[in-house]
Symmetry: C2
Subunit: 123 residues, 2 copies
């Protein structure tokens, strides 16, 4: 059991690559992740819901029938099965909450795809 | 499906009672909750892990063998089965991530206990 709290922005500051989520905690069968993102990701969906909270910056999530903008201090849950493509004009730091089974780019294999073992690399 | 992001602090500003978590989102079989807390809660444990992130203020979580202080922008996960008692000297706003099955005060029935239906009241 950890004995101290985790500072999200201080931990995110160690991330050097965009669109490369890193696991910073686990809650039962889910992972807490942080990511730095910039530019456009890729269209994909998941078999699980995906929680996005913006810690710094602004994230836009395009979905097939609408678009959501998430500012710092806000969250949005992309429901399972909904195709989505996150985009950040400027660098943005995001907190993610996902089932351990969630695949980074769903069934899509993209250049940006990170495996769970990539995401589990300690910061 | 919601069409906009949720601002956590703006939503928390509608909460008028301490230690009364309110559900603001769901992610598969978990709830996203926010709570305003002040003073001492009560010793209890859960059958599930419990994620605490402080949005404003400072939360101290006493456990049997150690104590963790969580400042704004930090999180801590209390593992399942670990007795804990949260305390906030000043008012503090907290984001919680918990399984839908998680009972507010575990098996303890306290004056402060809120049912899941209490927690599901819309803000």
């Amino acid at each position: 059991m950890k004995k101290t709290a985790v500072n999200l922005l201080a931990t995110a500051a160690k991330i050097t690559e965009h669109w490369s989520p890193r696991v910073v905690g686990e809650v039962d069968d889910s992972y807490v992740k942080i990511a730095k993102v910039k530019g456009e990701f890729t269209w994909h969906d998941h078999q699980e819901d995906e929680f996005f909270m913006v810690l710094e910056g602004q994230l836009t999530i395009h979905m097939e029938d609408h678009t959501v903008t998430i500012n710092a201090g806000e969250f949005y849950v992309v429901p399972k099965g909904v195709m989505h493509n996150p985009v950040a004009q400027e660098e943005c730091t995001v907190l993610l909450f996902e089932k351990k089974s969630t695949l980074h780019t769903g069934q899509v294999q993209a250049d940006l795809t990170k495996s769970i073992s990539d995401q589990l690399q300690p910061l």
